[in-house]
Amino acid sequence: MSKRLELRLRKFFNIPRKGETFEFREGLVSQYADERKDTIQRVIAAMTVGKDVSSLFPDVLKNIATHDLEQKKLVYLYLMNYAKTNPELCILAVNTFVQDTEDPNPLVRALAIRTMGCIRVDKMVDYMEIPLKRTLKDDNPYVRKTAAICVAKMFELNSALCLEQGFLDRLLEMIDDSNQMVVANAISALTEISKSTRTQMLNIDSKILKKLLMTLNECTEWGRISILTALVDYDADDVNEVQHMIDRISPQLQHENPAVVLSSIKVLINQMDKISEEQREALLKRLSSPLVSLMSTPPEIQYVALKNIRIILEKYPQVLSRELRVFFIKYSDPLYLKLEKIDIMVRIANESNGLLLLAELREYSMEIDLEVVRRSVNAIGQLAIKLSKISKKAIDVLYELFINRAEYVLDQLVIVLQNVLRKYPKEYLTTVITIISDLNFEDINDAESISSYVWIIGEYSREIPHLETKLTNLVKQFQEMDPLVQSTLLTTIVKINLTKPTPVTQKLLQQVLNEATTEVENADVRDKAYIYWRILSTDNESLQKKVILNKLPILESTIDKFPPLLLNELIHELSNLGSIYYKPASSFIGTGDHDLINSSSLQTKRLEELQQMAKNEIVNKTVKAENLLDFDDDEDVGQSPPPTDNGTSSVSGGANILDELNDLFSGLSYTQPAAGSNGDTKNSALFDLMNDTNTLSGPSTSTDKKDSNSNDLLNLF
C-alpha cells in the first residue's frame, strides 16, 4: 500500500512531458468522452494542414468504436490517410469495420465499407470479403452503390479474390438494380475494371442499353457521365437503335455540367457514322448550341472545352461555322484562353465570315500582349492561305503592320510572308519584296524568322535590291548562326550562284562552303555543304539546276492537323485528359507497376536471348569461314570443334579468324577505288574531291583564290 502511495505521489510531482503530440496522446486516451472527441478534431485539423500525426495512429484507432457518427467519420478520415504508415495496426480496426457494416444506420454501413475500400493495405483485403458481400446485397441503395465502387477498389488490390468470390458477376447483376445511382456506380466500377485489365468486362447489349438510357435521365450528373462513358464503345445494331440513343441522349446536351455535355457529344459523335447524311447534318446543327454554351463557363473550363472543340472541328469542320462571334477574345480572358480562341477561330473561318475575322485579328495584332500579337499575325497568315478570296486584304493588313514598324511583329511577320509566298508565289510578290528589301536581318531575332528571311532572298534573288550587301552581312556572321539558319543560308547562296552569279557571290559561296565543311560542328550543315560541293563539281549545270532549284510544292494550309489514326482515338476519348494533351490516354497513363516490372524483365530476358543468338551466329559463321578461308592450316580445321552453342574455345578461336577476316576486307577497301578509277571516272572524281576537301585548310586557300569563279574552284581539285 505504501508503495502505491509513493507511486502516486511520484506521478503527482512528475513534471509532465511537453509537446503537441504528447498532449494529443493524453487527450485521445482521456477518461472523458468529450475530451477525446475534441482531441480527435484537433488531430484532424493538424493533419489537414500537413503536420505528420501518424505516430498517434494506435491512439486514434482506439476511438473508432463509437456511436457518435461525427467522431466515427473523423477517425475514419484519419485511418484513410495514415493506413499506409501503419499497415500492421490496421487490422485492429477490422472488428469495428465488420460490426459497422451491420449497423442499423445505412450511413454508417456505407461509411464503413467505403473506408475499408480506401485502406489500401493487403491485410485488410482478406477481411473485406464478407462485409463486402453483405453490403452488396444491402437493402439500402446508398449502401449498395458505395459497395459497388468498393469492388473496383478491391479488384485493384486482389483481382483473383474478386473473381473467385463472384463480385464481378454481382456487379453485372446490379445493372438491373431498381435504383439509378446503384446502376451508375456499377457501370463506372465495371468500366474502371475493364480499363485496368484491358478486357471488356461490360458487354452492353440492346437490353442493357435500354436500361442505361432509361436510367440516364434520373441519375446524378456524375452517374450520367459514367453511363455515357460506357456507351461510347457501344456498337449499335441498326439505325433505329442509334436514333433511339440520339433521342435519349440529346436532352443531356442542355445539362449545366460541362462534363455531361461533352460526354453526351462524345457518344453522339461516335455514333455519327451509322446514320444517314441528312440525319448527321441535323444532329451536327444540334451540337453547335451546347458547344457555344460551354463558352460561358469559367476560363479553365472554357479552355478544356476549346481543346475538345478543336478535335471535333477537325472531324466535322461544319459544326460551328455560324458561331464565329462566340469565340471573339474578351479583354478579361487569360492568355491561354486567348491563344486557344484564335486557333479555333481560324479553323472556323470560311468565305462568309473571313472578313469579319480578319478585322478582328487586325485588332488583336495591336494588343499589348506579345504572345497574342504573334499568334494573331500568324493567324492572319493562316487565314490568307486558307481563304484565297480575302488573301489580298490579309496581305494589306500585314503590310500595314509592317509600316507601323512594331518590332515585335517582325519575327512572326517574316515567317508568315514565307508561307504566303509558298501558297501564292506571284500574286503578292511586290508587297513582300518591298517589306523584305526594307528589312535588315539584324531587325529580326528568331532563328526561324531569319531562316525564312534568308529563304525569301534566295528564292527571289532577282527582285531584291542590294542583294550582295545583304548576303555579305549574313555570311559574316555565318558561324555564330543557328544551324537552321546556316543550312538555309548555305542553300540560298548556292541557289543564287546558279541563277545570278557575280564575283561577289562566288567568293561568298567559296567562303560558306569552306566554313561549313571545316568549322561548323553541326553534322547536318556539314553534310549538306559536302553534298552541294560535290554536285557543283559535276560540271553538269542542268543537273545542278534540276536538283538545287527545284520548286517546292504549293502550300495548301498552315493549320496543323492530327494524323487520322490519332484523330479517331481522340474523338473516342473526348472530354478526357487525353483530349487536352492531344495524346491518346494509353500513351501517358502508364500500365500498372506489375506490368512494368514484367515487361522490363521480359525485355532483359529477350535481350539475353538475342545476345546468345548473335554469339551463336558469329561462332557458326566464323567456323564456316574458317573452313573456306583456311587453306594452309588443314590440321587446325580438323582439330577445331564443330559449331556448338556457346563453346568458349570456338569463340576464342573465332576471334582470331575474325581478325584475319577484317584484314582481308580492309585490303579490299583499299583496292576498290583503284579498280573503280579505271572503269568509272565520275566515281574517282568524287573520291578525289573527298580527299582534297579533307586536306584543304579552308581559310588560307579561299583567300588565295579570291577572284576564281565557281569553275575555277572546281578545277582547283
Partner: protein
Amino acid sequence: MGNIFSSIFGKLWGINKDIRILILGLDGAGKTTILYKLQMGEVVKTKPTIGFNVETLTYKNISINMWDLGGQTSIRPYWRCYYANTAAVIFVVDSTDKERIDVAKKELHMMLKEEELTESALLVFANKQDQPGALTAAEVSKALGLVDLKDRSWSIVASSAIKGEGLTEGLDWLIDVIKEEQM
C-alpha cells in the same frame, strides 16, 4: 457557458468520467462473450475478434468502458497500445485448455510488467466452468502463478459466461477495488 460549468464540475467530482477496464486473454477464452453478457445480459454468437470491441456499461452508478481485445497471437503484441489510463484488467482463462495455460501465464506476467499497468487491479476469470474437465479456480490460480503477485490487488473467480455465473461477483469485487483507489 453551461457546458463549461458542467464539464468543470464533472471533472471535479468525477462525474462523466469513464473507467477503463481491459478484457484480455488467449484467443477463444470467451472475452467477447463475457463483454456482451455483462452489457446486454445475453449470450451473443461471436466470431474471433480481429481488433477490439468496446462497450460502455453503467454498473452501480459508475460508467465503465470495457475494452475486449482480440486474443490471437498476431494481435497480442498490440495489447500494449491500450494500456494507458487503464483502471483494471480482466484476464480470462479457458479452464479447459490445459495445454495452453502456460502460454496464458507467460502473457499475463509479461503484461503485468508494463509500467502503465502497475496500478491496475487484476481480476482473473477461470472461465468455461460449465464444461466438463474444467480446472477449478484454485488450480488455475496455481497454474498462472497468481500467488507470486505482490503490490497488486488481484482476485480469481470461477465463471461461466454462457450461464452468467461468477461474472457479477467478479465485477463487484473489481468495482470495490477501483472505488477505493480512485475516490
